[in-house]
Symmetry: C2
Subunit: 255 residues, 2 copies
């Protein structure tokens, strides 16, 4: 047996997009069997938030009994600075978090909702896994950005996700116009998100700052009963009363 | 009842990434229950390839019996020019394909593998659905680009997918250097794909054309037994013998 074969695997485990608010919905509605099976048998977890991870695992247990009682699982939170600054802003070394994998145990990385390391913390852990020569296996589940992109009807052959826009109104409008110019010039769809309570301010800025013919999409409640995905020209949006949801929403502009 | 409520919904149905080659694997391993249930009860399909859609539905049927025998489903292929040029290159009007939805029937859009309208045809159909005021609902399933991004450990807070690179060697190297410069300057991870038989030529170009410290990821066999995702500096890649797979592979560069 080689050293490689004796090491554990790092699994990336996606979670439902309801942030635990849809716990009446069976989790198998949005996560396939392979994802649930892996989640049930991993004993070492790295997470954005231990409480939400315990709540997630409690939802896995009825159909896929956990390998250990939740209290006996090892659940380690990413340091606060990784949440705040993002994995790529700092020089955080996550290798010490992967000791259990080096000792032969499978490990799992999760975030609060959706796919870890995509628009969420975790990439520092994945990077460390590659540096240590660990096997990295991403599992299937909901990814809000890609659900939103597909359902927008905007160009899915060339697209970018740029994260959050500036909070300052003038800087935000300037950034929006840069993104619009890029989308119109290159055809590259530009996706972004906002802290939900600021959605109405962003929506105002979009309707006021963008050109008439630019196409503007917004997707909220993805995978939930409240799901609402729409895409129209800015001109058409301006003609309809359309309050924006204060739940997590993905926005996109394109031509 | 309003006109809106009498219309059918357009569902975006993701399919396994094995292109039908893993038909021994139960489909519920990679598709959640909600996706399978919707797929089993929709009678009107729009697809890249009718043959692969029938093969897909044949795999859904054992656990989620289809509403009609496969031969009686309406399966309509997207026109060839949409495959070749992409939905956004032409001015293809897909509204006539959505007549059944206007008449009150739910419809489904699929591609050969993964999520329709993302790195695959279909966005013209989604756009037409929004223009007609239809409800659009994306369902959960495997999306190779996002599985690759998450598992790369590259920046997932700012990333772009740019499709295929030029085939001509000089033009390809120039484009690679542009993408590398963008990734190093802005921190935006750049993802791209290649026609599988050209993977070795692209891999050569990557190792020869990129800078030592640029991080380079490749992900092949996503969701399959052959899954292999690795990310190292270009310098580190050059030091190890690493033939590239001739199966579908996602490549990414970042810092």
């Amino acid at each position: 047996m080689t050293a490689q074969a004796a090491q554990g695997t790092l699994y990336l485990v996606p979670t439902p997009l309801d942030f635990g608010c849809g716990s009446e919905t069976p989790i198998a509605e949005v996560l396939p069997q392979e994802t649930l099976r892996v989640a049930s048998r991993v004993g070492h977890w790295i997470t954005e938030n231990a409480k939400s991870t315990r709540a997630f695992l409690k939802r896995v247990d009825p159909s896929h009994p956990l390998v250990l009682p939740i209290q006996q699982l090892t659940i380690t939170e990413l340091p606060r600075e990784v949440h705040k600054k993002g994995d790529h802003a700092g020089e955080f070394d996550a290798k010490p978090m992967l000791k259990a994998a080096l000792a032969g145990h499978d490990m799992a990385l999760v975030s609060e909702a959706g796919m870890p390391a995509v628009a969420d913390p975790g990439s520092s852990v994945v990077r460390a896994a590659h540096d240590l020569g660990l096997r990295v296996v991403p599992l299937v589940g909901p990814v809000s950005l890609l659900l939103a992109l597909a359902a927008s009807g905007l160009n899915g052959q060339n697209f970018a996700f740029v994260g959050y826009l500036p909070q300052d109104a003038a800087a935000r409008t300037q950034r929006l116009r840069e993104l619009e110019a890029l989308a119109l010039k290159t055809g590259q769809t530009q996706l972004f998100i906002e802290t939900p309570y600021r959605n109405p301010a962003l929506w105002d800025a979009l309707l006021r700052g963008l050109q008439n013919n630019t196409r503007l999409a917004r997707a909220s409640g993805l995978t939930l009963a409240s799901m609402d995905v729409r895409c129209h020209s800015v001109q058409a949006w301006r003609k309809q009363p359309a309050g924006v949801s204060a739940q997590p929403t993905v926005f996109a502009i394109g031509k």
